[in-house]
């Protein structure tokens, strides 16, 4: 699908729209309703902080928006497209091309260098091989790593050789490399000390000013202060 363009035209639809979305996890001990008839709209360029106690459904909401999972009921629209109608491959493409994830545990691939971690989604988007556009890929990865402020000399390091703050910068670079519309951040500062957390938040705020739509889970009010808008979840509903 083409980015930023849809049948009803720019601005006609919000970037993200949830219409009475429910997510139920069937468990042997009984079903868990993680998201309960939630409706929400997020406009392009917004920066939303999702708050709430542990178990209130924040991660589930992020995973649904990120197309890692599909709602049990209700409709979720990205750029006006109902993801209910999409099979696994198009969902994956959507995730690859329009969404970037940033996790609390950084989630870098340990066997790959910082550079290769960033390169990975780009190569997936190129159809799995770096072949003819090798140079473009290198330039793009260098540029993204520079934009998140990672020292170039660290590019060949494995994640285990980097500090938490450096790993999170690599993770953000990886999330940005395919130039997605949406950044989904699940407690991005949760594993960082306050000072490093602040630099990461400043980086995210800068990305938002550059036009990225950001949805960020946090329970730290100071971190939430970087957002333009805050929502709170209680038992899978908006408070």
């Amino acid at each position: 699908m083409e980015k930023g363009v849809n049948s009803t035209g720019e601005g006609g639809n919000p970037l993200i729209r949830l219409d009475s979305v429910t997510k139920v996890y069937p468990l042997p001990a009984g079903d868990v309703t993680a998201i309960d008839r939630l409706s929400l709209e997020v406009e392009r360029g917004d920066f939303v902080a999702v708050m709430g106690v542990s178990g209130s459904g924040k991660s589930t909401l992020l995973n649904l928006i990120g197309c890692l999972d599909v709602p049990t009921s209700g409709d979720l629209y990205l750029n006006g497209v109902n993801i209910r109608d999409l099979a696994d491959d198009p969902l994956t493409e959507l995730r690859r091309d329009t969404i970037g994830f940033v996790f609390q545990q950084f989630n870098l691939i340990p066997l790959l260098t910082a550079y290769e971690n960033v390169e990975f989604p780009l190569i997936l988007a190129q159809g799995g091989n770096g072949g003819p556009v090798r140079e473009e890929i290198v330039n793009r990865c260098r540029a993204v790593l520079a934009s998140v402020g990672l020292d170039e000399s660290l590019a060949t390091h494995k994640p285990s050789e980097l500090s938490g703050g450096q790993q999170q910068r690599v993770a953000i670079a990886r999330a940005l490399v395919n130039d997605p519309d949406i950044l989904l951040c699940d407690e991005p500062t949760g594993n960082l000390d306050t000072r490093t957390g602040t630099t990461i938040m400043e980086l995210l705020a800068q990305m938002n000013r550059g036009g990225k739509t950001i949805i960020m889970v946090t329970h730290d009010p100071r971190v939430a202060g970087y957002a333009r808008r805050r929502i709170e979840l209680v038992d899978g509903r908006l408070a």
Partner: protein, 387 residues
């Protein structure tokens, strides 16, 4: 290619268990390739022999006595009378009765066992070729097979002692190397006159009779004629033509090769199971990583590819090592079984090493299929929550 690199690095990380999984592939590849090469070499050398001695019928005394059970313990020989009967039954074809035996052969300080053939000197040129010197003409004297001559450093004119206290005999000629024969194998033997043989070892008849058929078409009818003439009431002789001998050798080889190929197959199955096991471990250990890869946009089939690459790398390593070792294995098998490596390095033999390697790679890929499928179908969210 990053997906391939990624798979390769995971194998390097777990090199020891990967190595163990690969051993089975190596064994399987070596067994299958060596057998293939051996089989091909055998077929090639047998068919070459077939063109040189395809016109030969060999008559042996029947072993195991007849159904009448009469003269069970007499040494099995073909009597001069039976030779006459054979001669009458085969028409104009050449009949060559042969004594066979073995004795010590002593040259200077060298003392070894060798085969002996006793033949009418007039018959020798009919089935053997001369390399050096002259054919045997008188009762005394001997001809040496090529290999024997090399072993003992014999030349035309050398003398050898046959038997510890035996007679000294002059070598009048060296025979051309003949390879494996169906009638006689003179390469590592001395050929003496029938008279000399009989006076030295006694006159008990012949051990075998070679019949040279002039017209190949007649092989069957000549065989039948001999059978009819000698095996009237009970089977007193066994009549083999070269094709039957060939068939016997090929049958023997087939059962050996079925056995070895089965071992190769079993070790490939074992290898497959251990690769499956290693790959399942890899999938379980990397569940979270799979979740990450899916979250950044890898499709199911791309995840599958990563794991299939891993299986492929294991298969390539195993088949690579196996392929190299196969040269050794095939060399060993061929030199033990055929005493000649002439047909080892011809393309039609070497292609079996390629087949063996392809089998190894195929087994590995097949074993990787299920783990790769499992990895590809993990639920991304659950994989991400895994630790």
């Amino acid at each position: 290619m990053i997906l391939f690199d990624y798979a390769r690095r995971n194998i390097r990380l777990h090199w020891f268990r990967s190595f163990l999984a690969v051993i089975g592939i190596v064994i399987g590849v070596v067994a299958i390739s060596s057998m293939g090469v051996l089989g091909n070499s055998l077929v090639l050398s047998v068919s070459e022999s077939l063109t040189t001695v395809g016109d030969t019928i060999v008559v042996y005394p029947q072993s195991g006595g007849g159904p009448m059970g009469g003269g069970g313990t007499t040494a099995l020989r073909i009597t001069p009378r039976q030779v006459d009967e054979i001669t009458r039954s085969v028409g104009t074809n050449i009949v060559i009765p042969v004594h066979t035996g073995a004795d010590r052969v002593i040259v200077g300080s060298e003392n070894r066992a060798a085969s002996l053939y006793g033949m009418d000197p007039a018959d020798i040129p009919e089935i053997l070729d001369l390399e050096d010197g002259i054919f045997l003409r008188s009762t005394t004297g001997a001809m040496a097979g090529k290999r024997l001559a090399e072993e003992f450093d014999l030349n035309v004119g050398s003398t050898v002692r046959i038997g510890e206290d035996g007679e000294r005999v002059r070598i009048v000629g060296i025979l051309k190397e003949r390879g494996i024969g169906f009638d006689i194998n003179p390469d590592y033997a001395l050929v003496v006159s029938d008279r000399w043989f009989e006076s030295t070892y006694g006159e008990e008849g012949y051990n075998l009779v070679v019949v040279k058929v002039q017209n190949l078409e007649e092989i069957d009818s000549v065989t039948t004629a001999i059978e009819d003439a000698l095996n009237r009431r009970t089977d007193v002789v066994t009549v083999l033509d070269t094709r039957m001998v060939l068939q016997t050798i090929l049958d023997a080889f087939n059962s050996i090769s079925t056995f070895t190929t089965a071992i190769g197959g079993i070790s490939l199955i074992v290898a497959g199971v251990s690769i499956l096991n290693v790959m399942m471990m890899s999938v379980t250990e990397r569940t979270r990583e799979i979740g990450i890869i899916r979250s950044i946009g890898a499709k199911r089939r791309e995840v599958m590819r990563i794991f299939l690459y891993e299986a492929l790398v294991l298969g390539l390593i195993g088949s690579g090592i196996g392929g190299v070792l196969s040269f050794g294995g095939a060399y060993l098998a061929v030199s033990v079984m055929l005493q000649s490596t002439t047909y080892l390095f011809v393309p039609s033999s070497l292609v079996y090493i390629l087949y063996g390697m392809l089998f190894g790679i195929g087994t590995s890929l097949l074993s990787g299929l299920y783990p790769a499928w499992r990895a590809a179908n993990l639920n991304p969210i659950e994989a991400l929550r895994h630790d």
